[in-house]
């Protein structure tokens, strides 16, 4: 069995196109996921280097310049080269299956999206062997990122890498949007879409609104650095803050781009493992649309410390608190779905429940940062680092792990091992909290983010050591996951078409699905077409 046929159930004798030439949405989805895993491993190694350097005061494992490069590349990698490709990969694989389509709207453009995204990542990492990686932070504030202050080529590779990667992501979002709007199977009205598809649609719209602003800012930074321009140059009456505005006009929607699909995943998983339909489907979908609208009006909460006017500060503080409302609505939806259900605590469900718990902590620390006096006190401190990791790791990554355990059987035909899965979950849960919970206290006691070391008399040593131990535990958890994937690919239990007693269309075809996905679709008369087919006496009234 060749590597390709592992992922797509091809009839004997048909020749596969191979990974380089494939335009099949499932294979491109797997390529995206593979890219995400590879960059997640690189970003993780970078994180371990940072934590090793910070484990004790006055450590000299990394010199300051290297430290700057590593934290910059860690941020860019995790956000744009790991999480986004993982999300787009799952969306690519699952959306056509969930809507009963044979492929995405533009299969060849889909391949282009992937290869552009990967090329962007390669360009960024090429900087390491071409004179130094970017070192101005993942948001590369100006004037720090301007040529006089960042004379190396690192920031130029950042510009090119992000622009190319962003082009791929934008094209991918166009593809997914058109696919969801125009390729649905007969009977699958928008109001019956699986919630993961809903979240993919909202996320795609966010990408289309947010990424072009980043592209614009990158072009201007390029003009400043390469053509001697003055956009962000205060000496020529340029405006450094303009970069911050444009970057965060992209950057804050980007946060929702990363979290909404994970929310979509657990909105699929929790109902199945509770044996009930989702509680308040319309609220889950509607609150995401509200989040999408609001997310374009909160960006300057990243900039309270620059001294915005009173009116602007109030506006962005209020909108940032308001966005917590539709976000909080979903928490109640998930909990209400579980109440009274027959819960099956398999690994996907454990990660989904872990998501809810950790995301609540990250969400609440986020609301506290919307309170301007608190923000001014802890801005650019480890409190912010703790907050963003609770949302992005405790939220997005736990959601992605839940999705990985849930859909791996569909993608490969084999189940991941439950015992290793539980080890993976508990080690991740403990390691994650050990790493990031103490960073709240470090931030409140004044430890700034992005310092390469600190003095012993600050008292920050013990919690930093705990945090580093937690990071090591997280690394072990990821190794357990890797072992689980490799072992299960080779000899995992055969999954069958529908191992979880699922609700939605992806479980109505073989695992893995054939090239055009479905031999025959169930009749779609509600939100849970496969459930309706299996239990005609218990049809949903939708």
């Amino acid at each position: 069995m060749s590597a390709v046929s592992l992922w797509v159930n091809r009839p004997a004798g048909t020749r596969a196109g191979g990974w380089l030439r494939t335009v099949d949405h499932k294979e491109i989805g797997v390529l995206y996921i593979g890219m995400g895993i590879a960059f997640f491993a690189l970003g993780g190694i970078e994180a371990l280097l940072l934590r090793a350097q910070l484990a004790t005061p006055q450590e000299h494992l990394l010199d300051p310049e290297t430290y700057d490069q590593i934290f910059t590349v860690h941020g860019v990698t995790m956000i744009l080269l790991a999480v986004v490709p993982l999300i787009v990969g799952f969306a690519n694989y699952l959306v056509p299956l969930m809507i009963g389509a044979a492929d995405v709207a533009y299969p060849r453009l889909n391949a282009l999206s992937f290869w552009l995204s990967l090329l962007g990542g390669i360009v960024l990492y090429f900087s390491f062997v071409a004179g130094g990686a970017p070192d101005a932070g993942w948001f590369s504030y100006t004037p720090l990122a301007e040529r006089p202050f960042a004379p190396g080529a690192g920031v130029d590779y950042y510009i090119l890498g992000l622009a190319v990667n962003g082009a791929g992501t934008i094209i991918g979002a166009i593809n997914l949007t058109v696919t969801i709007l125009l390729m649905r199977a007969p009977g699958l009205a928008i109001s019956r879409l699986p919630l993961f598809v809903w979240m993919t649609l909202v996320t795609s719209v966010l990408i289309l609104g947010a990424y072009p602003a980043l592209s614009g800012a990158l072009v201007m930074l390029f003009v400043d650095r390469q053509l001697g321009g003055h956009f962000f140059d205060p000496l020529a009456s340029g405006q450094p803050l303009l970069w911050q505005h444009l970057f965060w006009f992209f950057g804050h929607p980007e946060v929702y781009i990363m979290i909404l699909p994970a929310m979509g995943m657990i909105s699929e998983i929790i109902p199945v493992f509770s044996g009930k339909p989702i509680f308040g489907y319309r609220f889950v979908a509607g609150s995401s649309v509200a989040i999408a609208f609001l997310s374009f009006g909160v960006w300057a909460h990243h900039m309270f410390a620059v001294g915005l006017g009173t009116a602007e500060t109030l506006f962005f503080s209020v909108t940032s608190m308001a966005i917590a409302v539709p976000t909080g609505v979903k928490i109640f939806n998930w909990i209400a779905t579980m109440i009274g259900g027959r819960l099956r605590l398999a690994t996907p469900m454990l990660f989904a429940i872990g998501f809810i718990a950790m995301f609540v902590i990250g969400g609440l620390s986020g609301v506290s940062l919307a309170v301007v006096p608190i923000d001014l006190e802890v801005t650019d401190s480890y409190y912010v680092v703790a907050h963003l990791h609770y949302v992005l790791f405790g939220g997005t990554m736990l959601g992605l792990f839940a999705g990985a355990y849930y859909w791996f059987p569909k993608m490969t035909g084999r189940l991941l091992h439950e015992g290793l899965g539980k080890w993976h979950f508990w080690l991740t849960f403990a390691g994650f909290n050990l790493t990031f919970l103490p960073q709240h206290w470090l931030g409140v006691s004044g430890m700034p983010r992005r310092v390469f070391t600190y003095a012993a008399d600050t008292g920050w040593g013990p919690w930093n050591l705990v945090s580093t131990i937690g990071a090591a535990m997280l690394a072990i958890a990821m190794l357990v996951f890797a072992v689980n994937i490799v072992r299960s690919l080779r000899g995992g239990a055969i999954a069958g078409d529908d191992p979880w007693d699922g609700f939605t269309l992806e479980w109505a075809t073989t695992s893995p699905p054939p090239p055009e996905n479905f031999a025959r679709l169930p009749e779609i008369r509600g939100r849970r077409p496969l459930w309706d087919q299996k239990h005609p006496d218990q049809r949903d009234v939708a």
Binding site: V178, L181, L182, R184, G216, G228, G229, L246
Partner: protein, 185 residues
């Protein structure tokens, strides 16, 4: 495909046109970010803009681009290659006009690096110019395949190229207003 057959009704029900429409929407945000930067830095460059820009001359070239939207609309309804050629010619006149404007400014010492006006002017009009060139390439490709192929190019391809071309034209309405007419404010 079933999905295609049942949802062909409106123009937003067409896969190609919807994709181009969404692409154009995201491109609008891209241009908006550059226009915002131009406006945010306008005060620093306004003196230079008033001193160097040639409004009457560029108005003439702009009219050529605006007129090309009309010829493109005719091309789409008639599927006639001659209207396509007229569109390419008008777009070409605009690009030549921009090129001579650039040459004049550069000769006079206004460049992307010279001062704020040069930076913002060349970035904004340059990005627009690149989009015009891409549009001309698309028009040429459409004309070429219409001439070369035995089977007629689907009308939707004409509409898709037209949608992009109208967008490029509309962006120039904004850029011309902000950059050139803006010197009169």
């Amino acid at each position: 495909m079933i999905a295609q057959a049942t949802r062909r009704a409106g123009w937003l029900g067409d896969r190609t046109l919807l994709g181009v429409a969404i692409f154009v929407g995201s491109e609008s945000i891209f241009f908006l970010s550059i226009v915002v930067a131009y406006v945010a830095n306008r005060d620093a460059g306004l003196g230079d803009a008033r001193a160097t820009l040639d409004l009457p001359r560029t108005t003439v070239f702009s009219l050529a681009l605006f007129a090309s939207s009309a010829t493109m609309a005719r091309a789409t309804t008639t599927l006639n290659a001659r209207w396509l050629l007229a569109t390419i010619a008008l777009g070409g006149i605009f690009i030549v006009g921009q090129g001579t404007e650039y040459a004049r400014l550069l000769a006079a010492g206004t460049a992307p690096s010279s001062a704020m006006f040069g930076t913002t002017f060349f970035t904004l009009t340059g990005l627009h110019g690149i989009h015009v060139l891409v549009g001309l390439a698309a028009l040429a490709a459409l004309g070429g395949s219409t001439a070369a192929r035995a089977v007629a190019v689907r009308p939707v391809a004409w509409e898709a190229v037209a949608l992009y071309w109208h967008f490029v034209d509309a962006v120039w309405v904004v850029v011309f207003s902000v950059v050139y007419l803006g010197t009169k404010l």
